[in-house]
Subunit: 434 residues, 2 copies
């Protein structure tokens, strides 16, 4: 499914229609639940658990902000290759919460491991396997610096474990994706599958992150699950490569959360073969599907940007290096000047020139070619001969705008995604804590 | 004079009151004029000339944007140490104007040198000195990429030279400062003086730049004049040092113009001594006055930011290096998150934490101390014990807000200045070209 931006934006504040979402399927080896610990005071789901009774291989990419959540510190504290559970809470980021935040996490981990161990001992198979605290990882999203609501979460843990479900239909995936939302207006889910002999390799992903800045500083969380048996090391390589051109290619306001986290889990249900590497055909197929899924989720985050009315793609092509292409693309995508011009439907290409220049990358303005959609606006160091202001103004009324910068200096390219900058952005962020 | 921010902001759209401005004085050796070439179509002054019949020592600092105006290229083309004239036009930036822009500048330079040479030959003293095109420098501010209005400017040159005046009272300085404005709501002038024996060393400065993004991409221009005889090399050292903590310490939206330029001219009227260096007492006094003047002008630019309702000072102290202090200060000052919170009068210190972290600088969150005005909001890795939301909300209603970050890691510090981020910013920039 591709996102129908126009419908999506028009329907933004209405209840989501089921038909808009991909049909996510059962994931063997995964149990999920989402309950309310009443952190928002309105009974909405705010606590979620992803549980792998037989364990899961695991890889994660997290924020590069130098101040990080207690949850990120916890997850980083040991290089876990296999885990049993991931718990996610919203409303509170558990960042800059000091001793209270760290101790809260200890308390929650101990309680959760005890309750999960108890569940195992009662299971039909009677495997009575122990779930240790080091088998657990965490993600938090919400306000920074407020005391962590440890008691409310602790009290909700029995219910959270009790409600774990092994069967997942489309509706249940949407409930789970809704449980990790903060100010997102829609749950974000994506699905890909690959036929491998008689088996069906599935990839299911959920994400949250409300494009522009939300109460949680636009924390971006994404959890991706596959039934394919892939080692944690290979998952790590695949995830890093997928994130580079998807989750790391979106920007909304250049601010970066202390809690960002993207994780990829393998329930090991389907064996793809021994000693798999990036060169294996099935792994290459998997990588393509994973990238497609990540790009889908990343774009959903941008489209759901609060205040966003337009989707903006910035393509930089024929750069002398990838780094240079990336710098220029983000210099444009993060420019408030350009984003307000897009909101105002003004084909103001002078601001694009400014954005290219302020990246500090060496360019040759005589070679430079700039396109808005299919219209060339500048080339050979000046305005294009075919420049037609009227046609460009018409183009700028579209919901999705593409800026293409052809540097003609080399063969590297980078594409990034953002949204426009509107009045609603100011409204939402001027006093978000009330 | 210090800026009375409250009055200034309240009176923003009214005619400026003379009493708000410093009393700039006569500058020996300088002639000035400001006329209309009708570039805006409404008869306002848009063309200015600063002329030194006996030449002036000269130093300049210009934009680091890798795409630059034809005027900046012209000025850089020879390392001029002494010049005779500076012409400034508004409305058109002469950037990305290709061959037409470059040739226009040649035509204007030739005409201007001819007319000025003619003026000299007619002067009472009959010195009949030639003004060569390489004695001239230029500055432009306005829209990027539009054809340069060479004919209109050329036609206005005789009038521009004709109107040159050797006498400058306060009112005339304000006329000159108004002639270089684009969307600024007020002219920006500053004055400092130093008594040196029987002589009065004067420094007069004018500036333009409308804080937030203006039609001209917030091009910042400032021209500073002194009667003190200081060599071009020493002027360069003094200017570089002054700019670092003044014009280079202001930000409004992280965008940077292709035309920014700050120049310092000496008319050599007053001899301060031979072989002056930065260690001489009189030069040190001059440096202090120059820094004060530059900071005054820089703050006027921020205060005049379109859409700006509040002035924000970000102080980073006890950093392990100057670079680190600077990165953190600008990371906060450029954050749309923080600027919208300031506009909303929300003491949202969680966003400051995020801003510090996203700078990428290593910090120790347990040592970190954050103040809003005189109120400690966070220390020892958590919210301050004395935190009082009510008092902070009261403080955030002020017109001028100070954020202080004490890193407790070293002894370096940097302070920068910005404004808040309001609805008006979006209004002004959504479709500025119409």
């Amino acid at each position: 499914m591709t996102i129908n931006l126009k419908n999506f934006l028009n329907d933004k504040n209405k209840m989501s229609k089921m038909g808009e979402f991909q049909n996510l399927k059962q994931m063997e080896g995964l149990e999920m639940s989402s309950v309310s610990a009443d952190l928002y005071g309105n009974g909405r789901d705010d606590l979620s658990l992803f549980y792998f009774s037989k364990g899961a291989n695991y890889a994660t990419v997290s924020t590069s902000n130098s101040i990080i959540s207690e949850t990120i510190s916890w997850n980083n504290s040991s290089h876990k290759k296999s885990i049993k559970g991931l718990m996610v809470n919203t409303k509170n980021a558990n960042t800059f919460t000091g001793k209270q935040g760290k101790e809260s996490l200890d308390i929650i981990a101990k309680n959760l491991s005890r309750i999960l161990t108890l569940k195992e001992s009662k299971s039909e198979k009677g495997t009575s396997e122990t779930v240790r605290i080091k088998d657990l990882i965490f993600a938090s999203t919400g306000v920074i610096g407020e005391q962590f609501p440890v008691d409310q979460i602790k009290d909700a843990l029995p219910d959270l474990v009790e409600k774990l479900k092994k069967e997942h239909n489309k509706l249940f995936w949407l409930k789970i994706a809704s449980g990790i939302m903060t100010t997102d207006t829609k749950p974000k889910v994506a699905y890909e599958e690959i036929i491998f002999g008689d088996e069906l390799v599935k990839i299911c992903g959920v994400a949250k992150g409300s494009g522009m800045i939300a109460p949680n500083l636009a924390t971006m969380l994404s959890f991706i699950f596959t039934n394919a048996d892939i080692s944690s090391n290979l998952l790590r390589s695949l995830l890093k490569r997928a994130v580079a051109n998807t989750f790391n290619a979106i920007t909304v306001d250049s601010d970066q959360s202390t809690n960002d986290m993207v994780s990829l889990f393998s329930t090991r249900a389907i064996k793809l073969g021994q000693n798999l590497s990036l060169n294996d055909k099935i792994v290459q197929k998997f990588e393509l599907s994973l990238k497609k899924l990540c790009l889908n989720l990343a774009k959903q985050i941008v489209v759901d940007g609060e205040g966003a009315k337009k989707f903006l793609t910035v393509k930089v092509i024929n750069a002398k290096s990838l780094g240079s292409a990336k710098n220029i693309a983000f210099s444009i995508a993060n420019s408030p000047l350009i984003k307000t011009a897009v909101a105002g439907e003004d084909p103001n290409w002078g601001r694009i020139i400014m954005g290219i220049g302020k990246s500090g990358e060496m360019i040759d303005s005589k070679k430079l070619k700039i396109k808005l959609g299919n219209f060339i606006v500048a080339e050979n160091g000046k305005i294009a001969d075919s420049y037609n202001e009227e046609k460009l103004r018409e183009y700028m009324r579209w919901d999705s705008i593409v800026i293409e910068i052809n540097l003609k200096l080399g063969s590297d390219a980078f594409e990034c995604y953002t949204c426009d900058f509107t009045h609603d952005y100011i409204d939402i962020n001027a006093d978000y804590r009330n």
